[in-house]
Amino acid sequence: MATLMTALRHLLEAPPLLPALTVMHWGWRLAWALVLGAGVLGLGQAVGASGPGFGRLRRFAGPALAVAALAVMLLALWPGPASPAHWLALAFQSPSLLSAVVCARFLWIATAPSLAAPMSMPQWSNGAGRSGACLGLAALGSLLGWLLLGDTLAWWLPSVYAWGFSPAALMTALGLLFILLWLGQHSAALQRFGALLALVLALFVFTRLPTGNLWDAVLDPWLWVVLQLMLLRGVWRRAVG
């Protein structure tokens, strides 16, 4: 019984474990590098999909985009004020690990085939984003964001953000991962998200990035905005058939 109480006390009251300054310094830069690199590719994808095409130059678009993304990523990693990460972190601190991992996956999927076959263009979504599972995940992320925003603005008393430093939050996220993988045996989207979440949780435990708070690792305010847009779009499309 005493052991159980000790374990319970540890789960709820264990102090935060925060990342070292050097880990934060380079971890945040790497996260911004991934987000910016994916942003460049995503922009290229949007232009390529909606524009008139590049004619004979189109065969060079894939490698050119990959090089541009690489250049932006290297610039983001560059120390000092020349780096866009230096200024983005001033305003927004760091992307969440989940944003960084999603962007890294996008970069990987986009660049690997485009290097092999220059005509192919990266795709953010293959339609799975409109699935019920994806909408459910977007709704879950949106709810978590509202809880955290309400906590920040003192709309309610229990401090949801402070809870993110405790092992109990990690246990909750692991429970969610278990449920996702158990329920997701028929859903590729759930399995894919489960794998990403597992990677994020493992990175968080061993690096504590970006801040030592689990909520900062799984959801940043920009990702929250994106999730809500996804949710609204998905609900709208379902509503109009």
Binding site: E13, A14, A85, A162, F178
Partner: protein
């Protein structure tokens, strides 16, 4: 179940099993890496910080023999702290006492520059030399450029330094650093001396160097709008509780607990109200503390919250009778039943700064008028510390310099003996 169902269920079960295994590994690693759960917090009297470990006994009706002398203060000295050269603006001082063997009795930190929120504002420091009885020349200890370089991201403005000395004698400095926006877009950066304590020469002060420990993660919304202003409350375990506050629209106080080395142990919201900020902590006994707060409303009074379990839970109390013109206050517990509060007492302005005394933290009487100016003049943002057997007060003098006063407090001295 169909055959295909069997086939498709296996990967799901296998993935769930892997998730469970991963969960056990991650929870085990997390438990192994994390610090131990700290003991419940117990406060120290300001006048009894040495030796560490002398924690407060619960207050009783007959224990504090100094109550009769509460509020009796004898002025010893006053003046202004030297400013860095060619620096016309100063604000928000913080004082920290040094141990008896040090060449300086206390250190003062404040922010200074061409004007508040100017890009050239830095954190200045001076020490009160025991041998000469004078303040040393001011030194710059933190600039926003150096802060940004160490943090790895830009810092627009800095201000509101708060100093604390940890169990190893290192001085920690908590500084407000703004992001994209004004003060409401601030974050708190923790710095720590890398070469302190040094040899006991006076010139050691100029060599004092601070390195960034980290930006404290305190809110989900881009970690923005948490500020620090008031002094920490020392704990019996060598750690402290640092009162901070959120101020983006809603204003509420938060208590941060640190261990004896300055590692963050947790945070607790201190009030359900959203118009109070800049809490200053006053221990009534080891576990029963008050937080006195600046009231952001017009016609406000000094607000109060209390905890009876060492900061784990807080409750709001009715406001004090003292008016508060939306101005920072500073409280100090010198000895059992001997509490001081520096506060602006005139409604609607900061032209009067008083030092009041109390034996219960709720009923206050005027002990000293620290400063009184003409309309439009400002004496504000006080800081209190107990050092060299006396009470020290520093405050902003018309946003151009930091003034200080020193008082003998016989009651606290007798308690110390």
């Amino acid at each position: 179940m169909t055959a295909s169902g069997h086939h498709s269920a296996r990967p799901g079960a296998r993935h769930a099993g892997l998730a469970m295994l991963l969960g056990l590994v991650l929870l085990g690693a997390d438990a192994w890496l994390r610090p131990l759960v700290p003991a419940p917090a117990q406060a120290l009297w300001s006048a009894a910080k040495t030796p560490v470990g002398t924690h407060l006994a619960p207050a009783t009706a007959d224990a504090p023999q100094t109550r009769a002398s509460a509020g009796v203060l004898q002025p010893l000295a006053r003046g202004t702290i030297p400013m860095p050269a060619n620096t016309p603006a100063a604000h928000a001082s913080s004082l920290v006492a040094l141990p008896a063997g040090d060449a300086h009795a206390l250190l003062a930190f404040w922010f200074a520059g061409s004007k508040e929120s100017a890009p050239d504002v830095g954190i200045a420091m001076a020490g009160f030399e025991r041998s000469s009885g004078q303040w040393s020349a001011a030194h710059w200890v933190v600039t926003r450029q150096a802060l940004g370089q160490q943090l790895g991201f830009a810092v627009r403005r800095i201000g509101n330094p708060v100093a604390w000395r940890d169990a190893q004698g290192r001085v920690h400095l908590f500084v407000v650093a703004t992001g994209l926006g004004g003060w409401a877009a601030s974050r708190i950066v923790q710095l720590r001396t890398t070469n302190w304590p040094l040899a006991q020469q006076q010139q050691a002060l100029a060599a004092m160097q601070f390195d960034v420990v980290r930006v404290l993660p305190l809110s989900w919304l881009f970690n923005t709008s948490t500020l620090v202003r008031t002094a920490p409350l020392a704990l019996a375990d060598g750690g402290m509780v640092l009162p901070v506050y959120f101020e983006l629209g809603y204003k509420y106080p938060v208590a941060l607990r640190f261990d004896a080395q300055g590692a963050l142990l947790g945070q607790t919201r201190m009030s359900a109200r959203t118009h109070v900020l800049q809490p200053t902590l006053l221990p009534l006994d080891a576990r029963h503390w008050l937080a006195l707060l600046r009231d952001n409303r017009a016609q406000g009074h000094v607000a109060v919250a209390q905890t009876q379990d060492g900061g784990a839970h807080w409750q709001d109390l009715p406001d004090l009778a003292l008016t508060n013109p939306d101005a920072s206050v500073a409280a100090l517990a010198g000895a059992p039943g001997q509490f001081w509060l520096a506060h602006n007492s005139a409604p609607g302005s900061r032209q009067v700064l008083d030092l009041s005394a109390s034996d219960d933290g709720l009923q206050w009487t005027l002990a000293q008028r620290l400063a009184q100016g003409q309309s439009g003049q400002e004496f504000s943002y006080p800081a209190l510390v107990w050092a060299q057997d006396s009470l020290w007060v520093s405050y902003t003098d018309q946003r151009t310099r930091i003034a200080w006063q020193r008082f003998a407090a016989p009651g606290a001295r007798s308690w110390m003996r």
